[in-house]
């Protein structure tokens, strides 16, 4: 059975998700911050984590942005293949939702129209839109506002297959250490391994959506995640880079098959303001 939908139906939903994501950090993250607080050894680090937990509670209560950098809006839309669309182009409806959410929500407009002439578009559009076709007749939407501080410190490389797991871990460690305090730690480290350049970066971004504490179901990736998490926290970077035992809350690796010549690795870093909100239509 085909389900008929008008593209304008997504506008309001996306607008609400933009606001919700920026105002309300999810419980999974807050719990991880609270756990880190009890384990942190640095007094500056403890103080910082305490402030971040209070900040999250306060932002939610007041319905204001927890972080001023409300980011590039990344909109992921899983579209059931039984849906038939009418109305304005879907991408326009998505932009309209982002425009409305950022305007009504008093969220910061951070997009420039051209990376070189740098004129602000004034409404935080365009967003980065990822439509995906899935089985079924539902639309599942996730809005992920991604701030510049952590996004800017991500990295991609293509290794030679000969370097294997050690090479991958090495690249991840170097990326995290170089990023230091600039990404507003504690961070979540999203890693993509395999695919092509574009696929690999996308895996790294999607890895950030996995709940903190959840491991990759494949044993050798789960083991790498745990090993890396410990090594990253041993770097001593600490909350906001002011030293401490909490540098990362988790490491999430996603993989995809790749070409016989290739071993691509992408690292996408997520700051403590890990924001995403989802809804189903």
């Amino acid at each position: 059975m085909t389900r008929n939908m008008d593209t304008s139906e997504v506008i309001e939903v996306i607008a609400d998700l933009c606001k919700k994501a920026c105002y309300e950090l999810n419980d999974n993250l807050i719990d991880a911050l609270k756990k880190a607080y009890t384990q942190e050894e640095s007094p500056y680090g403890k103080d910082t984590l305490d402030l971040l937990i209070k900040n999250a509670e306060y932002a939610k209560q007041e319905q204001i942005a927890c972080c001023h950098d409300t980011g590039t809006a990344v909109v992921i839309m899983e579209i059931g293949q039984e849906i038939s669309w009418s109305g304005m182009p879907l991408v326009e409806a998505v932009y309209a939702g982002v425009r409305k959410g950022y305007e009504e929500g008093y969220l910061r407009k951070s997009m420039v129209r051209d990376p070189l002439d740098r004129v602000n578009t004034g409404d935080n559009t365009p967003c980065v839109f990822h439509p995906e076709i899935v089985p079924g007749d539902k639309v599942h939407i996730t809005v992920m506002p991604k701030g510049g501080g952590s996004e800017n410190m991500g990295a991609f490389t293509t290794l030679v297959p000969a370097v294997g797991e050690e090479g991958v871990k090495d690249f991840i460690m170097k990326t995290v250490e170089y990023a230091g305090g600039m990404t507003c730690p504690p961070i979540i480290v999203g890693v993509g391994v395999g695919g092509t350049m574009d696929k690999c970066a996308w895996l790294a971004k999607k890895a950030l959506l996995r709940p903190i504490g959840e491991r990759n179901p494949v044993p050798h990736y789960a083991r790498m995640e745990e090993e890396l998490l410990e090594k990253i926290n041993d770097l001593g970077i600490g909350p906001l880079g002011m030293g401490g035992r909490t540098t990362a809350l988790d490491v999430h690796i996603e993989y995809f098959p790749c070409h016989i010549t290739a071993l691509p690795v992408a690292v996408n870093l997520q700051c403590h303001a890990s924001r995403h909100a989802s809804a189903e239509i």
Binding site: N55, E62, I64, C67, D69, Y106, R108, G241, A273
Partner: protein, 184 residues
Amino acid sequence: MNKIIQLHTPLTKEDIKDLNIGDVLELTGTIYTARDAAHKRMQTALAEGKPQPVDFKDQLIFYAGPCPTKPGRTMGSIAPTTSMRMDSFVEMTFQLGMLGMIGKGDRSDFVPELCKKYGGVYLLSIGGASAMISNQVKTCDVVAYEDLGTESIKRLQVEKLRLIVGIDSKGRVFQSEQIQKYKR
């Protein structure tokens, strides 16, 4: 942690010369926001021999771009942005008389040298604690480059804005020293 030092603007080099890395401050008074785009315009004005939009003599520059203010509140969410992007402007702003910078994150190796040379400081605020920090801002006025939106230069009156000395006027760096302590 060191005890809290109360600082009130106006400040001079004399007031900040004895601050040490790791000192926790509560700052009350006037500061100015400026980030990437504003610094670039200041640089262009300087190159063209035009006047600066604000007299930065003995002022603190806050690297920040706030959210719009929700009705009923005094200030939109605000907290520092990554300071390193402004590193290439540090000498220029010191030469314009700036006393210090407020931001987040590490700086390039030449920034501590510049702090030493000009007797300035780099103060750390907490990135992303923007809802809470907005309560420390009592007034906000756009004073230049209004067309830049969030990136305009704004004059803020702050009350007990909590800061940590990241680089002192002796050129010492707080973060690198702390990280060594917790590295295993």
